[in-house]
C-alpha cells in the first residue's frame, strides 16, 4: 500500500512518462522448463521494498520481514502454487476422522544452521512460546481452538483441537507458522533476543551479513535437508523503497527479481524478452487480496439494503480495474476471492453496471432528489492509495444524485477512523483472504469480530445465519462440506452487501530470464531457483 503511494507520486513527478495503454493481456509466463536441468551456482539479487528490521518471522506478520526472513526457515508444510500443502519439515500427516487431531511425521535428520538437531520439541516450543503470543494471525486464529500440542517422540508432533478444525494445513507453512529453534530462544524474550539479528533456521539459506537498511546477504546452506537444494550460492536482498527504482535497477542489471510492477512500466517489461513475468494473487505479504468498500451499516441511508445494492449497480468495477490497477487483477464478484476455487461461489447475485437500475432502487427506497438533484451525501474515508478509486466512484455516483465527499488520509489515520473511531460512511481496505477463507474471510463478516480492531468487521454486520455457517465451515471434516457452507455465506452476503469487493488484486513478479523457478507465491522464494 505504501509502495503504491510512492509509485503514484513518482509517476506524477516524471515528466516524460509515456502514457501506456492499460495492460489487458497478462503474460503468465512463469518460468519454464521441466526439461532443462538446473545448474548450480550463482547469486540472485532480489529487490525488497522494506527493510525487514529484524529476521525472526515468527514474532510478526509484517510482509517486509517475511519476504526476506522466510528464506532462512521452514514451516511444517510447503504450499504449492495452488496453495495445496506439500511436505516441508513434515514428511507426512494424518488427520483424525473427527478433524480434531492432526499428526505430523517430521523429516528425520534435519539440522539447524548451527548444527544442532531439529526435533518435535522445536515445533511445540515455537507454537506455544512464540507464535501463539506474537504472531497476530496465528494467535487470533488458533489460540481459542487449540487444545494442546504433544510430542510423543522426536519426529512426531500432534495438534489437538477442542472442536473439529478444517483449515490447519493452510496455516502451518513458513509464512503463517515458521519454526524457530528452541535451543536458541528458550528462556529469553523472543521479541528481544540477539538471535533475531543472527538467525539460526533450518532453511535453504543462512545469513551471511545484514547491513541495516541496505542489504541482506545469505549463503547456501550445504546441509539443507532437501537434498540437492538450493542451487544458488548466494541470495541477496537489496532494500529499494520505490517500485519505479526497483524496475530501473532490474533493467540495468543491478537486481534480478522484483515483486510488483507499477502499471506504467508494464507494457515495456512485457516486450522485453530478457525478462520473465508471472502473475499471482498469492504471496508472503498476503494472499488473494480484495480491494473492498466497507459500508457503515449504522449510518443511514447505508442501513438500507436497496442503497447498498444500488451502489453495487452504479460503481464501475471494470473501470477501476483498468484505470487504477492497470488490469492487474480481476473484477470482484463475491465475498471470497475467485482464486480460492474450491470455496468460490460463481453463482451469486450479479451486479452488472446499470445506473438505471440503481436509480430505480434508490427511488423505491424512498430517497428522493432534492431541489439540486442530490438525494444524499456520503463520505468516503480512505488511505491515499485508494484516492483514484474514490475519484472514479465520485463520478459514477454523481448521476444517481449521490454526492460523495472524498477524505483521503494517511493510511494509519484512515484505518483509525474506519476501524477504531468508526467515524465514516464508506471506508476501504485491502482484505486478504489468505490461503483459506477461515483465515481471512471470516473476520470480515462474523458479528463476534465487531470492535476497535483493524481489518475486522468494520461494517458492523450482524447475521446469525452467517455466523453459524462460518462455525460450520471451520468445523467440517471434508472440503465439500466446508464449500457448501461458504457457498451459502456468499449467497447471503452478496444480497446484503455489508462490504463490496471491487477488485481482486494480483501481483506481477518480474525477473531476469536467466533465472528459473522462483516460488514467488510462498515464503521460500529462492529454494529451487537456478540460473543459466
Amino acid at each position: 500500500m505504501l509502495r503504491r503511494i510512492l509509485v503514484f507520486g513518482t509517476a506524477l513527478a516524471v515528466v516524460f512518462g509515456a502514457c501506456t495503454a492499460p495492460a489487458t493481456t497478462s503474460r503468465s509466463n512463469s518460468a519454464a522448463t521441466a526439461t532443462a536441468t538446473p545448474k548450480r551456482g550463482g547469486t540472485l539479487v532480489v529487490a525488497a521494498s522494506v527493510d525487514p528490521g529484524q529476521l525472526n518471522p515468527a514474532i510478526t506478520t509484517a510482509g517486509g520481514t517475511h519476504f526476506v526472513a522466510d528464506n532462512l526457515y521452514n514451516g511444517l508444510v510447503f504450499l504449492d502454487k495452488d496453495l495445496n500443502p506439500k511436505p516441508d519439515l513434515a514428511d507426512s500427516w494424518t488427520i483424525s476422522s473427527d478433524s480434531k487431531t492432526y499428526t505430523f511425521k517430521l523429516h528425520p535428520g534435519v539440522k539447524w544452521h548451527d548444527g544442532v538437531a531439529f526435533t518435535s520439541a522445536d515445533v511445540k516450543f515455537t507454537f506455544e512460546q512464540v507464535l501463539l503470543k506474537y504472531h497476530s494471525r496465528t494467535k487470533s486464529g488458533l489460540e481459542s481452538v487449540l487444545a494442546g500440542i504433544d510430542t510423543p517422540d522426536d519426529n512426531t508432533v500432534v495438534f489437538r483441537f477442542k472442536t473439529p478444525y478444517g483449515p490447519l494445513l493452510q496455516r502451518v507453512d513458513v509464512v503463517e507458522a515458521p519454526i524457530v529453534a528452541k535451543h536458541i530462544y528458550e528462556g529469553q524474550d523472543p521479541t528481544k533476543a540477539d538471535a533475531n539479528l543472527k538467525p539460526v533456521g533450518t532453511g535453504p539459506f543462512k545469513l551471511a551479513e545484514y547491513v541495516k537498511g541496505d542489504t541482506i546477504r545469505m549463503v547456501r546452506n550445504p546441509d539443507y535437508f532437501k537434498k540437492g537444494l538450493p542451487y544458488l550460492d548466494e541470495l541477496v536482498f537489496k532494500v529499494i523503497p520505490q517500485a519505479a527504482t526497483q524496475i530501473l535497477a532490474l533493467e540495468r542489471g543491478e537486481v534480478d527479481f522484483v515483486s510488483g510492477i507499477p502499471g506504467p512500466d508494464f507494457s515495456r517489461l512485457q516486450q522485453n524478452s530478457a525478462m520473465t513475468i508471472a502473475r499471482s494473487g498469492a504471496g508472503s505479504g498476503g494472499s488473494f487480496c480484495n480491494t473492498t468498500l466497507i459500508y457503515n451499516l449504522s449510518r443511514p441511508p447505508l442501513d438500507k439494503v436497496e442503497v447498498r445494492q444500488a451502489l453495487a449497480y452504479a460503481i464501475d468495477r471494470q473501470q477501476i480495474l483498468d484505470q487504477v490497477y492497470f488490469g492487474q487483477g480481476k473484477v470482484g464478484t463475491s465475498a471470497i476471492n475467485s482464486s480460492l476455487g474450491w470455496a468460490y461461489n460463481p453463482n451469486v447475485a450479479k451486479y452488472p453496471l446499470d445506473p438505471v437500475k440503481a436509480n430505480a432502487l434508490l427511488d423505491s427506497a424512498g430517497l428522493t432528489r432534492g431541489g439540486n438533484g442530490i438525494r444524499f451525501k456520503l463520505e468516503f474515508v480512505h488511505a491515499t492509495s485508494f484516492a483514484k478509486v474514490g475519484e472514479l466512484m465520485k463520478q459514477n455516483l454523481a448521476p444517481l444524485g449521490i454526492d460523495l465527499t472524498l477524505t483521503p488520509l494517511e493510511v494509519n489515520a484512515a484505518n483509525d477512523r474506519t476501524f477504531v473511531a468508526k467515524n465514516f460512511d464508506i471506508g476501504s481496505a485491502s482484505y486478504c483472504n489468505g490461503p483459506d477463507p477461515e483465515i481471512g474471510v471470516r473476520r470480515v463478516y462474523v458479528s463476534s469480530n465487531i470492535g476497535p480492531i483493524l481489518f475486522s468487521n468494520g461494517a458492523g454486520y450482524k447475521n446469525a445465519r452467517v455466523d453459524t455457517l462460518f462455525d460450520q465451515a471451520a468445523a467440517a471434516a471434508d472440503k465439500a462440506e466446508r464449500a457448501k457452507a461458504y457457498f451459502e455465506i456468499q449467497d447471503i452476503v452478496n444480497r446484503d452487501i455489508p462490504d463490496w469487493n471491487l477488485v481482486e488484486t494480483e501481483g506481477y513478479r518480474v525477473w531476469s530470464a536467466k533465472y528459473h523457478d522462483p516460488y514467488y507465491w510462498s515464503g521460500n522464494l529462492a529454494e529451487a531457483v537456478w540460473r543459466d
Binding site: L2, L6, G9, T10, A13, V14, V15, F16, T43, V45, D51, G53, Q54, T61, A62, K133, Y134, H135, S136, R137, K139, S140, E143, K192, N196, V211, K212, G213, D214, T215, R217, V236, K238, V239, I240, P241, Q242, A244, T245, L248, A249, R252, E254, G286, E410, V411, N412, A413, N415, D416, R417, F419, V420, C432, N449, G451, I453, L454, F455, S456
Partner: protein, 320 residues
Amino acid sequence: MTRYLIRRLLEAVPLLLGVIALTFVLVHAAPGDPVRILGGDGGDEAYYATMRAKFGLDRPLPEQLVIYFGSALHGDFGYSYVQRRPVFDVIADRIPATALLMLTALAVSTLLGLWLGAVAARRADTPPDHAITIATLVGAAMPAFWLGQVLVLVFAAGLGWLPVQGMTSARGVAPGFDAAIDLVRHLVLPVATLGFLQLALITRITRNGLIDVLHEEYIRTAYAKGLTPATVVRRHALRNVLLPVVTIVGSHFGTLLTGAVLTEIIFAWPGLGRLLFDATTSRDYPLLMAMFLVASLSVIVANLLTDIAYTALDPRVRLT
C-alpha cells in the same frame, strides 16, 4: 571560550527536555496506534493487550512520560517497536550513510558555490554571469524529488554511466580501491540531487556579496598593489562574504536528518531520512522520539559551531 561552550551546552539541556516532552505529546496525539499497526491484518484484542503491556502503552500517558524521562536520563531510550532493538543501535547503524551523503553534498555544494559565485561576481552582467544566475534560479526552484528522478532517468537508466540506486553494489565488490570507486559512483547522483538547492543559494549569496565587496576602497588598493584578480578575491574579498555562507551551511547542517528523506527514498540510500519515514508510518514511538532528539541535538551543535566559526572569520565578533 570554554566558559562559553559550557554555558551553551548547559542551556541546551532544558531545550532537549522540552523537545522530548513536546514530541511525546505530538506522537501520541497523532491518529494511529503502533500496536494495532503491528498486529496488521491479523490482530485481535488479545494480541493488542499483550503488546500494549509489553511496550508499557497500557499505562496512563503522564506515567509513560515520566518513565521515559527517567530512562532517558540513564541513557536508555527504549526499544524500537518494529525492530525490537535499542533505538540508539538502530540510529547508530544508519548515521554513517547519512553523514557521508550530507557532508559530501555540503562540501561539494559549498566549494562549488563559492567558486561559481566568484566567477559570476567577477564577470558581473556578462553572459557567463547570466548563465550562472539563470541556472541557480532554476536549481532553486526545482523540487528535489523531480530532479532526482530526472538525473536517474538520464544518467543511470538512459546513459548507463552511473548506478540507479543504493550505496553499494548488491553483487559485492572487491574491498579497497574497487570498493572506494564503487562508493563514489553511487554517491554522484544523490549528492547532486541533495546539494543542488544549497549550491544555488550559496552561488547567489556569494555573487551578490562579492559584487558589493569588490567595489570597496580596500579592494581597489589591493589591485593597485599589483595583486592578481584571483588573489584579490581569494585573500581579501571572499572572507567578507563568508559570514552569510557560513550561516546557510550551518543551518543546513542542522537539518541533517530530515532534509535527506526524499533523496534517500529515491536512491534507496540506507540512511536516517528513510528511517524517520519508516518510523513515522509505523508509529514507532521510541524510535521517533529518539530521532527527534538527535535532530534537535544536531541543530544545537550546528548553531554552536556556526557561532564559533563567526569568531574565526570575523575578529570583530565576540562571543558573549
